[in-house]
Symmetry: C2
DNA sequence: CAGGAGTATGTTACATTATAACATTACACA
DNA sequence: TGTGTAATGTTATAATGTAACATACTCCTG
């Protein structure tokens, strides 16, 4: 047996990886009850904190929720795109964007340490599902 | 008398504008008790929601807190820099950065609607106050 | 192996942030 | 004036997160 903490982190990560959707800490807690019937919030938050500090998971600030890291390399920072329709979260490498952001704030003497870059919108799959991208949409196709 | 709601929003905005520091909704509530002794959380959240939807204030997602908008024009989006040392929050125009972010996520077919770009670090004033940017810093000035 | 320092984990309780749901008031207009 | 609508007030509670302490475990040291 490795340390129990590592087991907990592995279980949390497995839950987050089931779907590319952000889960609140309490949703994770519910999912953990199968394997850990008596788990309490601090254990979940400790595991999430360890995972995020190791870059194996990310907190989606604008959703107050968490996702598994999807990037193999986990470069300095990433962009998270969040579909407002289906909740799908995707991670994008942010190298140049992070540099651009750092450059903008450096104009006032600010030195960057940690970036939060999140985009809300509609994912490709939901865009494809939409009846039409124009008009009010109540009348079906505009044809 | 204008509508009471506008008065509330004006009061909230005045509180946020006192300092360029993010205030939690409950800090705002405390500050409002002078003018509105019996105020309750929903009134504060409604005022903050109206202000943010009009672009007169911003929610700092990574701090769960709110700041007054500092930009006269309030372009489509902005970058917020947050000093970890003093809490100072500064707003930066983000035009090109927003385009770059949208471009990155568009590579997977994602259409952007709303951007959250926040940078944590150290502001110019705190950088200037720091004894030295090297070593552990316990020994005072390196001179 | 006993003792004990130090760390990790479990547990309780609570703090903080946010909103649902309904009551009340204000206002426009027939 | 009555009445429908929207805005605001109020109560209660949901959702998120953490402090503080208890317990257990690990690994030394003698």
């Amino acid at each position: 047996m490795t340390t129990p903490g590592e087991q907990m982190q592995a279980d949390v990560l497995a839950i987050l990886r089931r779907r590319n959707v952000a889960l609140s800490a309490y949703k994770v807690l519910e999912a953990l009850r199968d394997a850990h019937p008596k788990i309490a919030p601090p254990a979940v938050y400790r595991a999430l904190s360890s995972l995020t500090s190791k870059g194996q998971a990310h907190r989606v600030e604008s959703l107050k929720a968490y996702v598994a890291c999807q990037s193999k390399v986990h470069a300095s920072a990433s962009i998270l795109s969040i579909c407002e329709s289906c909740g799908y979260v995707e991670e994008h490498l942010a190298g140049e964007v992070v540099e651009a952001v750092s450059h903008v704030v450096a104009e006032t003497g600010f030195s960057s340490q940690h970036h939060v870059i999140e985009v809300h919108g509609i994912c490709a799959a939901c865009n494809a599902r939409m009846p039409a991208p124009e008009g009010v949409g109540a009348g079906g196709s505009p044809q």
